[in-house]
Amino acid sequence: MASSPVARVAGRIAVPVLGLFWLAVTTVPFLFMVMTSFKSQQESFSSSVWALPEALDLVNYRSVLEGPFLTYFKNSVMVVVISVVLIMLISAMAAFAFARMRFRFNDALFGLIVAGMIVPIHITLVPIYLMTRQMGLYDSQFALIGPYVATSLPISVFILTEFMRQIPKELEEAARLDGCGPFAIFFKVFLPLSGPGLSTIAIYNGIMLWNEFIFAYVLTSSTGTRTLPLAIWDYQGQYTANIPAILTVVTLTSLPLVVAYAFGQEKIVKGMMAGSLKG
């Protein structure tokens, strides 16, 4: 049904206005965070909340970087990198099986795995905590990798399965005629062709795990094993009244994600759309 001219004009105005409103909602706290990180504690109290810093004072950054921040950062990088690599490998193999292999209970198993997306991780905390202790992994970076991989697999398998379903069947058949078995078809044809899908899940899961707090809080306890989200929490305890220092930690923690999102947002959106429109 064709919309009326009034509705069309209203739509043309409303969309950019709402867009600008949302931009303000998301940008203002970010700007506040960055600006405050350059202020001294005294300046942050005395000046207006929206006032620009009097000078680009890096004292907060120096102070944070001299603390245990880099240890947290290193732990986060290690846990996230290992988890994401495992997620990519496992979900790609599972997706290949679900997308391309005909076997009994294929649809039922796929449905079961995807249904994992609706399980709140909080109800798994106690069992995972107990299992982690029994396995002797408590308070180590490896304690986090298992839960991270497990909770990320449903969405990753879902996205990659839909992606691999769109790879033409003839490529698989051509590979079979060229002498490939299932493993060669997967590693030599499907995995290289799934680059965009793999990038999507790498960026998406990387962001989610970089920010993950609850598992890190429950499964680690010492400075040497904790990750960045707990670093923020730690600094909050240490500098209860030092808001610029806390926001400096937040700024430094956000920086890798901002960079990653700036370069990968197209893939993220595309991958999520591919997963939501088909199937």
């Binding site: 033409p168 003839e170 490529l171 058949e173 051509a174 590979a175 079979r176 005629l177 060229d178 002498g179 490939c180 060669a184 030599k188 044809v189 290289p192 062709l193």
Partner: protein
């Protein structure tokens, strides 16, 4: 020996959805065989069964002396060219062509020699370092053919390889495939198409396949033979109607009597014609269908035997020839393909001769009566 034999082959998708029925067929050593038929007739399925990409059928398929029903596709010594080329997008042209040989652990020097040789034959030497996305449709099709050539297969399988190309390129590539057949005389080729022009131009043998109810009633194969045999001696109404463009004219008629020169029939419009076929099995008054191709209807002036007189409803001019549409006596208009402008216009009454040798007669079941 690379003959291909299909014996009692049947295939269904699910219990109640047969797609291939009662196929008994032999493709001789070095023969170019075309599977032709309407959409849904199972021609691609049959090809894929020979390739080993479709399993779960009954009957037997042999390539040469070997039964291949349980043999993996890569071990059947077949190479296939797909409709959408199926080139690996992440590999260069060279790597696409070399991929199968690398999988077979062929020596590097030998791979290089074969790829370069195939590239020379197909004139794609300059493209070897390019990615498939940087190629035109025709170039991609050549690479796909090159990928098949390097494997030195005993059987080439083509699944509608030209259908994604534009008309001019299709004609060009058709000639190249014919050349390929001449260059590899020992290899048998099976080519799937729904385009009768391609089939007539390329085939040593055409296998015309039924679809739907005809397949269930008569089996998948409607007729097998040389292209001109199918064109001039169709076995039934389906074959007669499928080959030829415009399609053969069909006129309802009644069998009158068998005479020494042929069967005498009377059309619903009253004209009597003689068709040189054996109608001795028919009873007088039996319903029959007369078939005559548009290009066999010749304009005549004045009274003559074996003619049809109709009112012209429309004329389409194509320069070299014209289609004259005639109304009356049939549900679809009768079409005459005549040289030049046809010499008539809409509204005229025109008379066309239907030479006895060019007429076909089909019984009530649609089966052609044998010519005498």
């Amino acid at each position: 020996m690379t003959s291909i034999t299909l014996s009692g082959v049947n295939k269904s998708f699910g219990a109640n959805f047969p797609v291939i029925r009662d196929v008994d067929l032999t493709i001789e050593d070095g023969e170019f065989c075309v599977f032709l038929g309407p959409s849904g007739c199972g021609k691609s399925t049959l090809l894929r069964m020979v390739a080993g990409l479709e399993t779960g059928y009954t009957g037997q398929i042999r390539i040469g002396d070997r039964v291949v029903d349980k043999v993996e596709p890569a071990d059947r010594q077949v190479a296939m060219v797909f409709q959408n080329y199926a080139l690996y997008p992440h590999m260069t042209v060279y790597d696409n062509m070399a991929f199968g040989l690398r999988q077979a652990k062929t020596a590097k020097d030998e791979i290089d020699r074969r790829v370069q040789e195939a590239a020379r034959i197909l004139q794609i030497e300059a493209l070897l370092d390019r990615m498939p996305k940087a190629l035109s449709g025709g170039q991609r099709q050549r690479v796909a053919i090159g990928r098949a050539i390097v494997r030195q297969p005993k059987v080439f399988l083509f699944d509608e390889p030209l259908s994604n190309l534009d008309a001019a390129l299709r004609v060009h590539m058709r000639a190249e495939i014919a050349t390929l057949h001449r260059n590899f005389p020992a290899a048998s080729m099976i080519y799937v198409t729904h385009d009768q022009t391609e089939a007539m131009a390329l085939a040593d043998k055409i296998v015309l396949l039924h679809a739907g109810k005809d397949m269930l009633k008569h089996g998948s194969i409607a007729q097998v033979g040389k292209p001109l045999d199918l064109y001039h001696r169709p076995r039934n109404l389906f074959v007669a109607g499928f080959l030829g463009s415009p399609t053969m004219n069909f006129l309802e008629a009644t069998f009158v009597a068998q005479e020494p020169v042929g069967a005498r029939v009377v059309l619903k419009s009253g004209e009597e014609l003689t068709v040189p076929v054996d109608g001795s099995t028919l009873a007088a008054g039996a319903p029959v269908t007369l078939g005559v191709r548009p290009e066999h209807l010749a304009p005549v002036v004045g009274p003559a035997p074996q003619t049809l007189t109709r009112k012209v409803s429309a004329v389409e001019h194509f320069g070299e020839y014209s289609f004259v549409y005639l109304e009356g006596g049939t549900s679809a208009p009768l079409i005459a393909k005549v040289p030049g402008d046809g010499g008539v216009k809409a509204g005229d009454s025109a008379t066309y001769a239907a030479p006895a040798d060019c007429c076909h007669l089909f019984d009530a079941d649609g089966i052609a009566l044998n010519h005498i």
